[in-house]
């Protein structure tokens, strides 16, 4: 099957600021894809190019195999978008705003809307002016989720939601996935990405620096081991692929490269293991590794 989103060597500049620089991004049908990067990395710019709101300077951009700049409307029939900063018309109610968006996309599924209103606990009779950030986000989310589309493009959709609503959101994405929809999820909430996403692309300064399944990305980082042995476990230090060995109150902690893990275990076994905790790298570690303070991204550039 052909990719739902296929971006190759995408570049986009605003004046002298290079917002996107040779960016690649690929989403297969039915996949939930996490899109990570710090503020100003170019996530929102990428999404706005995918929606045909911005014109790409260079590179090939295909959504459902078509150019979003020239074929925007046909494509928009098949996707729904939730912006990161939801601004609504102040004089109408939340319910009216949902209907407006949904009908522009081709009609409202009343039952679905009602179901989502209840699950997200949103009062649709209030004027949007009095909504909090989270409630404005719910309006955009409900409008998107109530539409019968193949692709959901979500730009930090949960940054204003409380933890309970975050769970509702995760349920809804799970349902979308089971229904075979494709989801592009730009997010800062790494736990959310870890729970929901099959694949992840990390971008930095407008360029994709990592892309793959979480397992593949984890492979790039070391596993942390905390072990208590009868013998002196600090001797693992001698093995190649073992790093950062520390002793703390009888426990020994170290990190180990994936391919050195079997050797390390063989080394520890004869020492009499009392307890052992192995922690695979979290997404946060992967993320911080990409943007560690040593190579901090300079401030400025496009707003994400």
């Amino acid at each position: 099957m052909s990719a739902v989103i296929d971006v190759r060597n995408l570049s986009k500049s605003f004046g002298s600021v290079r917002a996107l620089d040779d960016l690649d991004l690929r989403l297969e049908p039915g996949e939930v894809h996490g899109f990570l990067g710090p503020n100003g990395a170019g996530k929102s710019t990428t999404i706005r190019v995918l929606l045909g709101l911005l014109h790409a300077d260079a590179g090939a951009v295909r959504v459902f195999g078509q150019d979003p700049w020239t074929k925007a409307v046909g494509l928009h029939r098949r996707l729904a978008y939730v912006p990161g900063d939801v601004n609504l018309w102040p004089k109408i109610t939340g319910g009216e705003a949902i209907d407006y968006f949904a009908s522009l996309r081709g009609g409202v599924d009343k039952a679905r809307k009602q179901n989502l209103l209840e699950r997200f606990d949103l009062d649709p009779t209030k004027k949007t002016r009095s909504y909090s950030k989270g409630n404005r986000q719910k309006v955009a989310l409900i409008a998107a989720l109530a539409s019968d589309v193949e692709l959901l493009v979500l730009d930090e959709p949960t940054s204003g939601l409380d933890p309970l609503m975050e769970l509702v959101f995760q349920d809804c994405i799970g349902e979308a996935k089971r229904a075979g929809r494709t989801v592009l999820l730009s997010s800062h909430i790494l736990a959310e990405v870890e729970t929901l996403c099959d694949k992840v692309t990390i971008i930095r300064q407008g360029h994709a620096v990592q892309s793959g399944t979480l397992a593949e990305l984890r492979h790039l980082r070391r596993t942390s081991i905390t072990v208590v042995c009868d013998g002196d476990a600090t001797s693992v230090e001698r093995l190649s692929g073992v790093h950062d060995v520390r002793r703390d109150d009888g426990r020994v902690m170290f990190t180990v490269d994936d391919d050195a893990l079997p050797t390390a275990m063989e080394h520890l076994l004869p020492l009499g293991i009392r307890s052992l905790i192995s922690t695979p790298p979290t997404l946060e570690e992967l993320f911080v590794h990409q943007y560690g303070s040593a190579d901090a991204v300079p401030a400025g550039g496009e707003q994400s």
Partner: protein, 551 residues
């Protein structure tokens, strides 16, 4: 027993000594508010002072001698004249000063009242609605400090405006005491309605509703004095129910008396006490009136870009329609009086483009219709420019990410502007014709002017088209559209008085429209204007289709 009685009192006193009173921080807040308004307050003051300055120059040209002023007084004796102007003191010996106090004072008071309502709402309810007040109150700031600071700002603004007005009058050799009374009246009218806004700001959760309620009170006050003054010269008891009426009852430049201004001061005091009492009874951010609920589902009319645009514009269209209709009605009803005054004032006839012969009333009213079209053009440009805000606030992006093309969205929004412009023209023409027809008992004028108003539709759409082009080519900015429009309006309004060259007057866009129903209808200019309007709109749409969206 006595110990338990005194303990809290002492605690309270020490609390005060710590600077923990309900007014703590007022000074700093007031300074900050004044700094935020450092442009706005001078602009209002100078705009009002400038209006007076303008009239001080123009009135002697239009009415050079006592006989001419007396023709003006005759118009003001009519109920319709009194309704628009004032109670009509000194009409038997109408002087320049009497004219200022009878005809201008009321409108100046309305202007200062509007400024005050906006100012107070901006510094109170608007701050709460946006959540900024919460940030402020979380600091060492007393409960009543924000409201007090807003009122200090209000006082400063009105004192500045009143002083500038008085100075402008005195500089024109008008009596000092009476000039001061005019300035004081305008300033006090501002204070009264600022205080009204201080009360309404406590009632509603929303700034717009708060200023809307205060504006309704102002409208009521103006109508009360208008009806009262129309009932009898010097005003009936209805005039005395209105703060605007009180300022006019000082009889400045006729037979000055100060005490009506005490009524303004007393009412301000009562309103302020009420505002502080209400403010003390509610939470930050809350209103005393619950916010209204709306529909849970959109009506079929709303779920279309044009439907939504209409919904957003509805209030402003209605406001414009009511304003244009009433002004048209009053202007029309003055029509015959104005035409009569031409007999003694040929140069005045020139201002209104009325030549000799023919139906002078029709010609004069036809040129007034042009003035109303200028107002509608301003509406049209403002209405088109709303798209800019829609885009920068991110709503356009969200809408265009759905199943709708850019031209479809833009032209739907533009259609609302175009149709509502036509409606506003029709309403102005109807009001003008109805008023003029009623004054001479020829009701067919209402129909004639209603139809004639549509002659201005193409030129209004040309300016709307310019605004669309400016929006499409976003980087070009919108200032040049305003310069073209305001320039056209100024030349159209004042060109004849200023004796500008004929070539300039002929090139003025609104002057290109045939002055129906006073003159023959020529189709050619209207066809050309329509072509230009369509071309501008098409070019703007095309440019919009090919540019990046801002936000």
């Amino acid at each position: 027993m006595s110990a338990t009685m005194t303990a809290p009192r002492r605690a309270h006193r020490s609390h005060r000594a710590d600077g923990g009173g309900s007014l703590t921080g007022t000074g700093r807040l007031a300074r900050f508010a004044l700094r935020r308004d450092r442009i706005q307050i001078p602009v209002w003051a100078i705009a009002l002072g400038g209006t007076i300055g303008y009239f001080l120059v123009v009135i002697p040209i239009a009415y050079p001698d006592p006989a001419a002023l007396q023709t003006r007084a005759a118009i003001m004796k009519e109920p319709a004249g009194a309704m628009m102007a004032g109670p009509g003191y000194g009409l038997d010996n109408y002087t320049f000063g009497a004219m200022v106090s009878n005809e201008l004072l009321g409108w100046l008071a309305v202007a200062s009242a509007l400024m005050s309502i906006f100012l107070v709402t901006r510094h109170t309810r608007d701050e709460e609605e946006t959540g900024r007040a919460e940030l402020i109150r979380a600091n060492v700031v007393g409960r009543h400090a924000p409201l007090t600071a807003a009122l200090i700002t209000l006082a400063v603004a009105n004192i500045a405006m009143g002083a500038l007005l008085s100075a402008a009058l005195i500089a024109n050799d008008l009596a000092v005491a009476d000039s001061l009374a005019i300035g004081a009246g305008v300033g006090l009218a501002g204070l009264v309605f600022g205080a009204v806004a201080a009360v309404t700001a406590q009632l509603s959760e929303h700034a717009r509703a708060a200023s809307g309620m205060a504006g309704a009170v102002l409208g009521l006050a103006y109508v009360l004095r208008g009806v009262g003054d129309a009932q009898e010269i010097g005003g009936s008891f209805l005039s005395w129910l209105s703060p605007i009426g009180w300022t006019q009852q000082t009889r400045a430049f006729v037979d000055l008396r100060w005490w009506p201004l005490l009524l303004c001061i007393a009412l301000t005091a009562v309103l302020l006490v009420a505002a502080f009492l209400l403010a003390g009874r509610r939470d930050v951010g809350a209103g005393l009136m619950a916010a209204k609920r709306g529909r849970a589902n959109a009506t079929p009319a709303l779920v279309h870009p044009a439907g939504l645009a209409l919904r957003m514009e509805r209030g402003s269209i209605l406001g414009w329609a009511v304003g244009l209709f009433l002004t048209g009605l009053l202007t029309g009803s003055l029509g015959q009086g104005i035409v009569d005054s031409f007999e003694s004032q040929p140069q005045l006839a020139e201002v209104f483009g009325g030549g000799s012969g023919g139906d002078l009333l029709r010609q004069t009213m036809a040129s007034f219709l042009g003035f109303f079209a200028m107002g509608v053009a301003v509406f049209a440009v403002v209405s088109v420019n709303r798209m800019r805000k829609e885009e920068t606030e991110g709503r356009t992006g969200a809408v265009l990410a759905t199943d709708i093309t850019r031209p479809h969205w833009l032209l739907s929004t533009f259609a609302v502007t175009a149709v509502s412009s036509a409606v506003l023209l029709l309403v102005s023409g109807f009001g003008l014709g109805l008023g003029a027809g009623a004054s001479i008992g020829e009701m067919s004028l209402a129909w004639d002017f209603t139809v004639a108003s549509l002659a201005y539709w193409p030129i209004v759409l040309c300016f709307a088209g310019l605004a669309v082009l400016a929006y499409g080519v976003l980087r070009a900015g919108v200032w040049w559209v305003w310069i073209l429009l305001v320039g056209s309006i100024l030349i159209g309004l004042y060109g004849p008085v200023l004796n500008l060259p004929e070539a300039v007057l002929d090139a003025e866009p609104f002057g290109l429209v045939p002055q129906v129903p006073g003159a023959e209808l020529e189709a050619a200019p209207l066809v050309w204007m329509s072509v230009v309007a369509i071309a501008l709109t098409a070019a703007g749409t095309l440019a919009f289709r090919n540019r990046d969206l801002e936000a």
